[in-house]
């Protein structure tokens, strides 16, 4: 599954996108955040306040309890500040 990062989440993770293969026990967005946070200090820093992080699955906003099964692309980013 492809993961994308934007704005300061991207800066903290240190990359804009990557392909990951989380274990089958990782079923929801918040479980994926917890799993990613355990990978390195950079990820832990990016996701240190998980409630602030927004997520999208296949270009649609989702909540933290959304299932990730079948997702082609998951994105993590801070609250939007466009317009």
């Amino acid at each position: 599954m492809k993961v994308k990062y934007f704005a300061w989440v991207r800066e903290r993770v240190g990359k804009a996108e990557e392909t990951i293969e989380p274990p089958a026990t990782v079923r929801t967005v918040e479980e994926l955040i917890a799993w990613l946070s355990g990978r390195s200090e950079a990820y832990a820093y990016a996701f240190e306040k998980p409630k602030v992080i927004r997520a999208a699955i296949d270009h649609a906003h989702v909540k933290s309890d959304a299932a990730i099964a079948g997702a082609r692309e998951i994105a993590f980013f801070p609250p939007m500040t466009g317009g």
Binding site: K4, F6, A7, W8, A56, H59, A60, H61, A75, F77, P78, P79, M80, T81, G82, G83
Partner: protein, 160 residues
């Protein structure tokens, strides 16, 4: 076959280049005689922010999702109000104070629909379209934080 007179064309563009409001309005209204009201909103890079003086602003976006998200809101606007046309242009890149960032155009028979749809679209662009602003000022560079007032502005359009 949809009559061109009753159609509501929706144009969405994300681009680095500036936009020309007069040209966009002309494109929306050309050879139509059913439009009575056109509202435009231009969002401009400001130097004076709440904190330090901003010298430049960089807009980052999520390509693909940004277009999809704006399209969803444009579709919702055309279903909620009797619109004759919608144009949304969001620029990305680095901007100086005074430069255009975003344009929302709405056309309708009557002014209330055009005003309300433009406000609705701007409120949702602010809180829901995947764009992020990074500010440069004398005190350094930092990502703009989301404002609670923007969430409140968007919430007023939620159907109960």
């Amino acid at each position: 076959m949809i009559s061109p007179v009753t159609a509501c064309p929706v144009t969405i563009r994300i681009q680095a280049d500036d936009f020309d409001i007069a040209r966009e309005i002309a494109a929306l209204t050309k050879s139509r005689t059913d439009i009575g009201a056109v509202v435009s909103f231009s969002g401009i890079c400001r130097a004076d922010d709440d904190s330090a003086k901003v010298s430049a602003l960089t807009l980052e976006h999520y390509p693909g999702m940004a277009e999809d998200e704006i399209r969803r809101h444009a579709d919702e606007a055309t279903s909620r109000w009797p619109l004759n046309g919608v144009t949304i242009i969001h620029r990305v890149g680095r901007f100086m104070p005074g430069q255009n960032i975003v344009l929302v155009l709405t056309a309708s028979q009557h002014r209330q629909a055009a005003f309300q749809a433009a406000e609705f679209l701007m409120d949702y662009l602010k809180t829901s379209a995947p764009f992020w602003k990074k500010e440069e000022s004398a005190t350094g560079t930092g990502w703009v934080e989301a404002h609670a007032r923007d969430d409140e502005a968007a919430a007023r359009w939620t159907k109960s």
